[in-house]
Symmetry: C2
Subunit: 245 residues, 2 copies
DNA sequence: TCAAAAGTGTTAATGATACACCCATGT
DNA sequence: ACATGGGTGTATCATTAACACTTTTGA
């Protein structure tokens, strides 16, 4: 297909005074996408891993990834990978960084683009008929991973933390209906800080990005909390350029 | 070289229960690096461009880039590209984002990693024996570029603006010795804001990241200003986690 | 009635903003 | 002496930080 285009340009190549001095499609280079899929439940941030079977990393956890297909862009590949592995559609995805260190992959020159993804871990059911099952690990407990995946995880976590302070991404980790205490816990866990309850609530409500559902929790053995949901239209009205929390 | 590794793995492939389900090095995919080289002089932010000669973009400005070489990682490629084109070493470089839209390049599947680069435009001399000369264009005046380069420029500018507020990257655009008025102008131009002179100076000096050179400008037809330089060791002592300006 | 988490206001300290005049130099 | 940009302080306002008790529910 496009190789014809290359061929037809070949004669002109010496005249083409451009940033592509030559097309070298034969570097034998592959491109992959690795997804750091974050989930949150039970007051802990988790990352989805699989068991790596490739020497010399046998048995170590690795991120979920795949090679880029021929007619696919990176965002689509990331979406496909997450859907295949989790069965969930419309998860939040963000490109983070591209990793290209020589020797990063034992089978050859594989350059990988890292994405982070956020999902409501409770939506996930182990339905996936994939050969290797997903293992959710607490992010704080992960120390070593296959390939350069620990470095990728670290970068993605930093990016998530940075985004959480300025954009309404955290809601992707919570159920649709949540309490103010839940979102405060989320921020405390992900950002590794302690927050004052009264100040946090005042600030968050002042942003005017939540919808008060006028419902409360049920079946809790203490005073039930009000439930809220994230209201994107309010957010867009009030914070076209992000906020600070 | 590594193709041997691939070959030797081929028989095991069905057993390898890993994220690489198959190695497809024959997608005929090329990887390039495009650099948004920013320069600042004369109260304007400039970007280095070259004239594109590739149909259908003949005559349009394009960014400076090249294909990734076989034994080179992305950071090295970006460094090489900037050095080749500007003759300058040790310029500041930051990876921004990878662009992979299908059809973004007329010669085939070329995925490009965008970097932005900051340099002191006055250090640059048109010594480069490169075939196509660099053209410095005011960023605010650039509207259309070859390929998806305008989109890349836009993303890189946004990233630069974001970094300027939190990290000491702006100094890479200024001469080693600068006045407080110069750095204020820089911030005003890049961030497109107006700043109050007294407040800006107080805040900047309070960060305690500058060295007062106890020198002044010469040959100016008005009261000469004090000269300062950026002091990285002070910065690292006081702002391990960035600042806000 | 007890345990558990929800919900609520005030004060003090800090940081941000607005603003106008004198100073040092070259011509 | 004049034109040019350099350099400086204070008062007001807005934001952040610290802090403790009452309420509602289930067991």
């Amino acid at each position: 297909m496009y190789m014809q285009a290359v061929k037809s340009k070949q004669s002109e190549r010496e005249n083409i005074n451009t940033w592509l001095t030559q097309i070298e499609f034969d570097h034998r280079l592959a491109m992959s996408v690795d997804c750091v899929i974050f989930g949150y439940t039970n007051k802990d941030l988790y990352v989805a891993t699989i068991k790596c079977d490739m020497p010399p990393y046998e048995g170590m956890p690795s991120l979920v990834g795949d090679l880029l297909h021929a007619n696919e862009d990176l965002d689509s590949a990331a979406k496909r990978i997450v859907e295949e592995r989790t069965g969930l559609k419309n998860v939040y995805l963000e490109q983070v960084k591209t990793f290209s260190k020589l020797g990063r992959h034992p089978l050859g020159r594989v350059i990988t683009v890292a994405y982070y993804s956020l999902l409501k871990i409770d939506d996930y059911n182990q339905i996936t008929s994939h050969e290797s099952p997903l293992v959710w690990k607490k992010v704080s407990g992960v120390k070593k991973m296959a390939f350069d995946h620990f470095e990728i995880l670290t970068e993605c976590l930093a990016q998530l933390q940075s985004h959480m302070k300025e954009q309404p991404v955290g809601f992707n980790l919570l159920p649709k209906k949540f309490t103010l205490a839940q979102i405060q816990e989320l921020y405390e866990v992900v950002l590794k800080v302690e927050l004052d309850k009264r100040n946090f609530r005042r600030k968050l409500l002042a942003l005017d990005i939540l919808k008060d559902l006028e419902e409360t929790e049920v079946y809790v053995k203490h005073r039930p909390a009000r439930l809220y949901s994230f209201d994107r239209s309010k957010y867009e009205k009030n914070h076209a350029n992000g906020f600070f929390l």
